[in-house]
């Protein structure tokens, strides 16, 4: 719905991608305990699935509001993804006939990963320029929200606290990986000699909205959380949650940059030559 002007449309679009990314990221992380049998993440499995379902609802609402994707098959994929998630949450929560239920949750997890990939592509989440970074940033945002929400569900369970601390470490590692992948992708794009790619990178790094990249994405969204997460061997739950909040700000800035640059280049006449 572009009635609110281009800025409103851009924000709706970014918010839609943001919530979809968190949902898919939390869903991908839930495959660690349910599909890949990572035992230490078992206590967080349900929280991951619930986070995924909770953030899918605003993503669906924002999709309807922004109408960023009019393709029917995307709607079908959303339907399939929602059904998979609801099924998984139901089976994970009821804890009856654990063995068989877990098998079904595992199968749904595998199907879900395959279903969400075209969903991300159809929603414009994986543009050609930064495919790897986008996938890692979905995991990052999903993990970050799970860590942010964990203080709400942890009462006094030491084991759960340890698990969240481990997840915060994984989020930190993913953030480091994403920064390296981003650097690699920027260098590849600059070295490719393709004018549209170079124009995009220039717009992000030194364009009028460069503060979004340097201020929000790099300083607030990467350096501050890395300092908070890796300042010592034991990081408190509160510090981890604050770091993860900043990571979410950085992911939002990353998506804002993507949509911003895309629409600016399209406005110039699609060639994107600087």
């Amino acid at each position: 719905m572009a009635t609110g002007g281009p800025i409103a449309w851009k924000l709706l679009s970014v918010a839609h991608l943001f919530f979809l990314g968190i949902s898919v990221g939390a869903f991908f992380l839930s495959t660690l305990p349910y599909v890949f049998h990572v035992k230490q993440y078992n206590p967080l499995g349900k929280l991951m699935l619930c986070t995924s379902l909770m953030t899918l609802l605003p993503a669906l609402l924002l999709l309807v509001l922004s109408l960023s994707s009019m393709m029917t098959w995307v709607i079908w994929l959303y339907g399939a993804y929602t059904l998979i998630l609801v099924g998984q949450v139901r089976l994970a929560i009821r804890e009856r006939g654990v063995g068989r239920d877990r098998q079904v949750v595992r199968m749904l997890g595998i199907i879900g990963v395959v279903v969400t990939l075209p969903l991300l592509t159809g929603s414009g989440m994986i543009p050609g320029l930064f495919p790897m970074t986008f996938l890692v940033s979905t995991l990052l945002s999903g993990g970050a929200l799970v860590v942010c929400l964990s203080p709400l569900v942890i009462k006094d369970g030491w084991a759960l606290r340890e698990t969240v601390s481990e997840l915060a470490g994984l989020v930190g590692a993913l953030l480091t990986f994403e920064l390296l992948a981003l650097l690699a992708e920027v260098l590849v794009a600059l070295g490719s000699g393709i004018p549209s790619h170079i124009a995009t990178i220039r717009m992000i790094l030194v364009g009028p909205s460069a503060w979004i990249f340097w201020g929000l994405q790099i300083v607030a969204g990467a350096l501050v959380p890395l300092l908070l997460l890796f300042r010592g061997p034991r990081v408190s739950l509160k510090a981890s949650a604050i770091a993860c909040f900043f990571i979410l700000v950085g992911v939002f800035a990353f998506l804002l940059n993507g949509v911003n640059t895309q629409s600016s280049l399209m406005g110039r006449g699609t060639s994107g030559v600087a």
Binding site: F28, L32, V38, Y41, V114, L117, T121, I126, L170
Partner: protein
Amino acid sequence: MGAVAVLIFSTVAGSIFAFALLWAISQALKLTEEAEEARELKIRLAEVKAKEELRKAA
């Protein structure tokens, strides 16, 4: 037709990459857990040995 081919390719390639990434993460986490367990076992073994030596000395 071209768009469909790109979509199918990106889905297949993306799925392979996503599964590979998740598998790599899971392996790294399992290794970390095993290392942690081994460390705890070592500490426990050292404690048992120390207790045994104390008992013998007494």
